[in-house]
Symmetry: C2
Subunit: 417 residues, 2 copies
């Protein structure tokens, strides 16, 4: 695998291909060209100051006679964890004000250039991660983003590789009234923005169990609801089944003033039926907050969310974290190799895919970033009416065939000579 300094496919192609060939390669790889969004200069300045990438694209749709354009701007946030994974939990999640903090011990050195420790007006508790995200959301607001989605389990290192319980389970919070949900509610209200906040959930009402959950917060600031990761990996370092089970909330779709959204968390993107059911329930946009690494999945990444956008006549937003996370104790990866302390590189490359099989370029493989995409949701029904995958889907047949197939005594339909 390439080291992460290889920035992105797009940069490489743009550097080396003659313009006519570049146009043709992009058409083949990315479909109809997406228009670059004209984002405000101060947004780019803030992004540069905060050391994160900012890109913006627009997907257009044909004019209709009865419906005006249904335009929405989504923001996809990818970021590394600003503090080392073995920094104390409270400092990673919540950077107490010095006078509180010093009672507990020496002030943690918030010395990463991307996360200067300054009060940001969201109450006394602001974490290194909260602060980092807040600064990115500020830029998203400048860019007119209506719905923002953070990466999977954004409030913590992706520690499930370790199979250790403490301290990692301390990152879990209530979806309804945990500090991160409160933080996101303030952001939502301040910026009139729907916030999709994927966290490690502690379900106090049902035996204190953990879930991999996305909280959806309305632009009003109210918690609109939550949705849970429906498919849990047991692959490589993704030992998540050690921590939580398959989601039990089905395939809810959230009606927001900006469109109907759903959240297919991470490993669910490998399961076409998961995407389908969100779409059947009416999602115009399906977010796919993820955490995935190069050695395992990088060649799948451009395929799956994009296939889902095509197959379901909807927009999909694939989000992956960046950077390398080092853990305090060594662990093995079930691959015959020596014990080690890191998870490999999360390769970023977040992108948005459209129902007409076009897509944006990806964000960087290495840098924090914000991808702003303007979607005209009318495109979903327009493509639906052209391609008709729902109409021609024969779901009744598949419901029957699947119901048969899961029976213990099912005999596959195999024709022999």
């Amino acid at each position: 695998m390439a080291e992460p300094e290889w920035e992105s496919l797009e940069q490489c192609l743009e550097k080396h291909l003659p313009p006519a060939d570049l146009r043709e390669v992009k058409r083949l790889l990315y479909g109809k060209e997406t228009r670059k969004l004209d984002l405000p200069g101060r947004a780019f300045e803030s992004a540069a100051e905060g050391d994160f990438e900012l890109q913006g694209y627009a997907f257009e749709a044909a004019e209709e006679q009865l419906r005006g354009p249904r335009t929405v701007r989504v923001g996809l946030v990818q970021n590394r964890i600003p503090l080392p994974a073995d920094a104390p939990v409270a400092k990673q999640v919540r950077c107490f004000r010095p006078e509180i903090h010093t009672r507990a011990g020496p002030l943690w050195a918030l010395d990463t250039p991307t996360a200067p420790c300054r009060p940001l007006g969201l109450g006394q508790q602001v974490s290194a991660l909260h602060r980092r995200i807040e600064s990115i959301v500020e830029v998203a607001a400048m860019c007119g983003v209506n719905i923002i989605c953070f990466q999977e389990a954004w409030t913590m290192p992706f520690a499930f590789c370790t199979r250790e319980k403490l301290p990692w389970t301390e990152f879990a919070e209530s979806a309804e009234d945990g500090p991160t949900t409160s933080f996101c509610q303030k952001l939502a209200k301040k910026h009139n923005m729907v916030v999709v906040s994927p966290i490690l959930e502690r379900d106090g009402e049902h035996g204190d169990v953990l879930w991999n959950t996305a909280v959806v917060i309305s632009n009003s600031g109210a918690v609109l609801g939550k949705t849970r990761k429906n498919h849990i990996p047991r692959v490589g370092d993704f030992n998540e089944s050690t921590y939580y089970m398959e989601g039990n909330l089905g395939h809810p779709v959230f009606q927001t003033p900006f469109g109907r959204i759903a959240v297919n968390i991470c490993y669910g993107r490998h399961h076409p039926l998961n995407w389908l059911l969100y779409s059947v329930n009416g999602a115009d946009i399906i977010f796919n907050p993820s955490a995935t690494i190069g050695a395992l999945s990088e060649s799948m990444w451009p395929i799956e969310a994009r296939n889902a956008a095509i197959a379901n006549h909807c927009f999909t937003c694939a989000i992956n974290r960046v950077g390398k996370e080092y853990f305090p104790h060594e662990f093995t990866s079930g691959d015959g190799k020596k014990a080690h302390k890191d998870f490999g590189y999360f390769y970023g490359s977040s992108y948005v895919a459209a129902p007409d099989s076009s897509r944006t370029p990806g964000l960087s493989r290495t840098r924090d970033g914000l991808l702003v995409a303007e979607l005209n949701l009318n495109l979903c029904r327009q493509v639906n009416d052209v391609w008709n995958f729902k109409m021609t889907g024969r779901y009744d047949m598949y419901a029957r065939e699947l119901a048969e197939a899961v029976k213990p005594n099912y005999r596959p339909h195999i024709v022999k000579e």
Copy 2:
């Protein structure tokens, strides 16, 4: 859309990218590199003589202790129709021997360089298309191909754009004992090769209706069975629903000595459930014989069959025809544009995708071609055991959810504030 002389993505990247970048771009686009097959020189000579492209790649799998490698070579054939679409049907499908033919009229000029009219020892009836395919199959045999698949409705121009019935329905044949099936049986027996022959079927046992069907012929020469196109398009010039209905044969998988195969015909590739059910029934390899054009689908082409290989832990073989077909009478395309007589460019680009998310380069966008791929079928179960999509697929939940969703009074699960 680019004119078809733009040969292929791969050629362009190889021409312009420095080696290190090319390697990285290929890793991102195509996954783990496929080894080039060492095919016999005389195969390349015959391909050059017959003016078609020949490429060969191998997908490898890890060694196991209890199973030896299960290696199979598949051949994918893409071709233009050798005669004009408005040539008499009998001459396109069956080029009678001159003494027979001249009773009916002057000998049709078989003057395309790729289809010289010479007797080939397969009986008195050999068509321009039969002859062309036979010459490609000869090369496939030199390359050790065990299973070969032709493009969708390979015995005819893709005339469904016209909505005319005659003469196009005259291309239909019995799947069990039509002349094309007989022809393929001889090929199969001669070369000890399984032949997948997608034709327009005339079902004489059930009211003479038409179907879009693939006939699977065992390497013994016996007809192993047939399978029908499960999803029928109503998009652009693909007016196929005017001619035939959705397949009624379910999702059969054919057990051959070389592996278990299934055939997902053309538009079925947009339907993830179609792929899934073939896989649930045990297919190691799913062929996707297609006919599709650039303006409509070229940016979907690299995504869908490949996603299916990933999602189902199997190999998929996407085959598309090449060239432009002109019809005698003008037709409209339901897109507000003027009537015209052609269907646009079929863009070829046939490829094989593997369960580990790797894939071969595509064949040319413009030339006839044979793609030979050596598959170690052990890779399917190996990837299945690593990624576990079947185990984590929750098909019981989806069977229930789909059964609910198709009810007329279904209310989507939408959460509102």
